[in-house]
């Protein structure tokens, strides 16, 4: 109700409730992202971060609330048929926590597949784009390897490249930093920041406080199926007094060291 006067959001989640069987995981989540935002979604393991992202890309049915992506609205009830999701698919990209690479295709073809068949790009051009992306993420040497031949971090970066390839206006990344070494995280953070400077909108779940603090413009803390706290990373992650945030960070080494 409030804030409708502000510029129309790229993503708006209202009172999202989501349950697996009897177990209600999300109990009314409200999120609002303007274009060009870089938002970190944090919370305890099992808090429901992945569920939120999966709900946004219409992979998880939800019981109440609405999800609106740039005009396209998802409603409670069974997931709509793919044919009705065309519009949504063009607007949102996703990196899965478990990567979900196409096991029968080499790294490069994992990236080009959508470019060629969904965007109808020339094969040669698609491969150029794929290689440049893999290069930027420092996995181009493994471009010909099958997913089962990749290391954890390499697989993760290929998955990121695959999602970046189609260059969707809204990008959801589920724990993209999980198995990256510090240097790679830095690089990833940098390129993501560049992306949202270019107008893309990013919603990133992460357990890496430093990463969130240095790259996100805003942090959303998910707890007990609801948004516990929203705000500037520095504020939330350093000086927050909110119990949920405390629970998430309380044991943070940095804080203990001091």
């Amino acid at each position: 109700m409030e804030g409708t006067d502000r510029m129309t959001p790229v993503l708006e989640i209202r009172g999202l409730r989501l349950a697996f069987g009897a177990r209600e995981v999300l109990r009314g989540v409200d999120v609002r992202l303007e274009g060009g935002a870089f938002v970190a979604l944090m919370g305890l393991s099992g808090a429901g971060k992945s569920s939120v992202l999966r709900a946004i890309v219409a992979l998880e049915p939800f019981t109440a609330g609405t999800i609106t992506v740039d005009g396209f609205t998802l409603r409670p009830g069974p997931v709509p048929r793919e044919s009705q999701l065309r519009a949504l698919r063009r607007k949102v990209g996703m990196v899965f926590q478990q990567h979900h690479l196409f096991e029968h295709l080499p790294a490069r073809d994992n990236v080009t597949l959508a470019l060629v068949h969904a965007l109808g790009m020339e094969k040669a051009e698609a491969e150029r784009r794929a290689m440049s992306l893999l290069d930027a993420l420092a996995v181009s040497p493994r471009a010909r390897a099958l997913p089962r031949e990749l290391s954890g971090g390499e697989a993760q970066r290929v998955a990121i490249a695959r999602a970046l390839a189609t260059d969707p206006p809204l990008l959801l990344l589920d724990e993209p930093t999980a198995s990256l070494d510090p240097a790679r995280r830095e690089e990833l953070g940098g390129s993501l920041a560049a992306l949202c400077r270019a107008g893309r909108t990013l919603l990133v779940t992460t357990h890496d406080v430093d990463f969130a603090r240095h790259f996100a413009q805003q942090v959303i803390v998910l707890a007990d199926g609801q948004v516990a706290e929203i705000g500037d990373p520095a504020a939330v992650l350093s000086r927050s007094s909110h119990p949920a945030t405390q629970r998430l960070l309380q044991a943070r080494p940095g804080s203990r060291a001091s």
């Binding site: 992979l59 196409f102 096991e103 597949l113 965007l119 099958l146 189609t166």
Partner: protein
């Protein structure tokens, strides 16, 4: 390279093992056929003997005055034998080409109905000493008596005979060198009629049948020079040796005291050839007499017979391959559509498809072939070949669809979700992500079906298509035994399925399970 040679070695090892086992089985069987004894523990007071009433005079025929009483020289010989054993003869009617099986099954102790002494029969059954020596003779139209004196004169012509006879074997052998066509009949009347009507240029059958037919069909001429000499014997079940020897003794005795001569004279089939023949038999007490010179084709033994039938079998195998491959292609195509329909289709669609699958899987394919071939004939009259191909294809499609459905559902959902978020359409996902990974899972069961399709294709013989099994059974009927054709038939199917299985394995290795 190394890979290649390795796989080659492998591909050799398998047929080797297989063929070894196969021949093992075959041999056991032949062996067993010899060893197996069916002799009853205590001998009954009657001698049950089998003959074919349709054989007609002078062999076995129903007495017109009293159709349940049989007459003919075989009848009288059988009676003589029975009495010689101190038993009453009991006649068991049986169709001519079933005599061997029946006697083997023990329906009667001895079969006598113009039963020829052939290598095949000798290999699998027990034979008495021969009691009559006949000749295979060449009958032509009287007008051609000058032109067609020998088989060699009949190059490019059509020669008729009775299937499953020595004459047939003789023609099969000669047809190669002399280049004529052999036409096999099921009865001995039509060949001569067709000869007269010009559909044939010659008929080769034994002198008795020839003489009989000449009386009925006019304008024919039988060349005096016999093509071949053969013998009628009594056929008995393997292992019935004791009884056989006593019967042989009786036969010899009846030759000595002239009983046989009287019998044959009464049915005027006696000739001085018999005199010589019996004399020889009596001289050396029935030993080694059946061993006729190796020059005679029917005594060439197994290998020759096989060589004779190979061409026909190869041709039939061709049909089998074509129908199987065609049907399998259809099955795969339709099966994929059904599987896709069941996974992506709405409630109604998938329910209907499920109905189709259960109906096709649940009912015998034979029934379905009948319906397609005869049932639909009023709407669309399909040629037997196409009916077979479509029938088998649609039936197997049901099985394939289940295989694909299972395989498609086994592909990790996560990858499908990823594909969706990338904006690929469901058909694209099926084609690019789900299908390729499902295919490898489906490969082993698919190979199973392809291999069994090769054999199920034999069902189409009911639609008058002559494929491998049918050809083998023709072979069997003509060689009078199922053993050799059976083993050959098996070997052919094996030879067809081995490469198939091998290719499938190669494919499997190629697309090694991504999860591996």
């Amino acid at each position: 390279m190394a890979q290649r040679s390795f796989s080659r070695r492998r591909s050799w090892r398998i047929p080797a093992a297989a063929v070894f086992l196969l021949s093992l089985a075959g041999v056991t069987w032949l062996l067993a056929a010899h060893l197996r004894s069916r002799e009853p523990s205590h001998e009954p007071p009657v001698l049950r003997w089998g003959g074919d009433p349709e054989g007609g005079a002078p062999y076995v025929e129903a007495d017109p005055r009293n159709p349940s009483v049989m007459r003919g020289f075989d009848v009288e010989v059988a009676t003589a034998i029975a009495h010689g054993l101190g038993r009453q003869p009991q006649f068991i009617p049986v169709s001519w080409d079933a005599i061997d099986q029946s006697v083997r099954r023990g329906d009667f102790a001895i079969g006598m109905s113009g039963v020829e002494d052939t290598p095949a029969r000798r290999a699998t059954m027990l034979e008495t000493i021969p009691y009559y020596e006949f000749t295979e003779v060449l009958t032509v139209r009287a007008a051609d008596r000058g032109r067609f004196r020998t088989l060699a004169d009949l190059r490019g012509r059509r020669i008729g005979t009775l299937g499953a006879t020595m004459a047939y074997a003789l023609l099969m052998k000669a047809s190669g060198p002399d280049g004529f066509t052999t036409v096999s009949y099921d009865d001995d009347v039509h060949p001569y009629e067709d000869l007269k009507s010009g559909r044939l240029d010659a008929v080769v059958l034994d002198n008795i049948i020839a003489a009989r037919s000449m009386r009925q069909v006019s304008g024919l001429y039988t060349q005096p020079v016999p093509l071949e000499v053969g013998h009628y014997v009594g056929v008995m079940a393997p292992g019935n040796g004791a009884l056989r020897n006593r019967i042989n003794a009786v036969l010899l005795a009846r030759m000595r005291d002239g009983t046989l001569e009287r019998i044959f004279k009464r049915w005027n089939v006696w000739n001085e050839r018999q005199a010589v023949f019996e004399a020889r038999l009596i001289r050396d007490g029935g030993h080694g007499t059946v061993a006729v010179g190796p020059s005679l084709p029917v005594h060439r033994g197994v290998l020759a017979t096989v060589r004779r039938y190979l061409p026909a079998l190869f041709a039939a195998a061709g049909i089998t391959v074509v129908i199987s491959c065609g049907a399998m292609a259809l099955a795969i195509l339709v099966g994929m559509l059904i599987a896709a329909g069941r996974i992506y289709g709405g409630r109604i669609v998938s329910a209907a498809l499920l109905g189709y699958v259960e109906l096709m899987r649940g009912t015998p394919v034979l029934l379905q072939l009948y319906v397609i071939y005869y049932g639909f004939a009023s709407f669309i009259r399909l040629p037997a070949f196409w009916a077979s191909l479509i029938g088998l294809g649609l039936n197997y499609a049901a099985y394939e669809s289940e295989i694909y459905r299972g395989a498609l559902e086994a592909v990790p959902k996560g990858q499908l979700e990823a594909a969706r978020t990338l904006g690929l359409s469901e058909p694209q996902i099926l084609r690019l992500v789900r299908g390729p990974q499902a295919f490898r899972l489906a490969l082993p069961p698919m190979t199973n079906d392809f291999v069994s399709m090769l054999k199920d294709s034999s069902l189409v013989s009911v639609l008058t298509v002559v494929e491998l099994t049918k050809q083998a059974s023709i072979f069997a009927a003509n060689s009078g035994s199922w053993v050799l054709p059976g083993v050959l038939c098996g070997a052919f199917y094996l030879a067809l399925s081995l490469p198939l299985a091998h290719v499938a394995r190669r494919l499997e290795l190629r697309w090694k399970a991504p999860t591996a």
